[in-house]
Symmetry: C2
Subunit: 137 residues, 2 copies
């Protein structure tokens, strides 16, 4: 768990906590966002990372010692049914110094409701083709 | 609807019908697999296609007049809760004449249960990095 307890009262709150942990380069906060089991993470252009420990290790490698990125997230579509929610988002990721448009990533985020709140179960991120890396909205 | 009524009695059956329509290059069968509304399709390296009509148009463009590919699908992980199911799969796609290993695509497929069976709601496909395009199993 991170230093603070993230608000996990809704899929939206869990998503905000996920991207806040990413923007803060905070592996401990990131660990608090993922589900307790059955998680999958596909980083852009990478094979899937399966299992909570492996996923947290992958994020720790990305976040530890990194400069905090500029991160803007646009929700394109959402669906919630019972204990699952699916969000399709655009992630606009740029270096802190802001050298241009940065990178556009598409992500499908799947959240599940656990006993103490909503957690991230799957994050599937991919890069649209280079010629199409402008905002879709 | 296609010439035949696909078996949509489970997420697994819907997935088989989806990949059969893909392998058969059959746009009509493909139309029978997708949910009635709220669908999203992300083809590898492409921006999202949102909405049933746009998604079916995109598949029609891909399938019409195409040579039937060699297609092998490996299920990496599945989850079903209530009226939603999530499958993470590897798609091994090769030209019919079989020129080598073909292409490995990762896909997150999300199915929903409608009144008359399970349908595909979202297909998010992406390419692992070139150096990692071997089977993950």
């Amino acid at each position: 768990m991170g230093k603070r307890r993230p608000d996990l009262s809704s899929p939206k709150a869990a998503e905000q906590a996920f991207y806040q942990a990413f923007a803060d380069c905070d592996p401990a906060a990131m660990a608090g966002v993922w589900a307790s089991e059955g998680v999958v993470c596909i980083h852009p252009g990478a094979p899937p990372v399966i299992g909570r420990e492996a996923v947290l290790r992958s994020w720790s490698g990305i976040l530890t010692g990194a400069a905090r990125p500029s991160l803007r997230v646009v929700l394109l579509k959402r669906l919630e049914q019972g204990a699952l929610a699916v969000h399709l988002v655009e992630e606009h990721i740029a270096a802190p110094e802001g050298d241009g448009d940065g990178t556009l990533v598409l992500a499908t985020n799947i959240y599940c409701r656990e006993q103490d709140g909503w957690r991230l179960l799957e994050h599937h991120a991919s890069l649209p083709a280079a010629a199409q890396r402008h905002s879709l909205q």
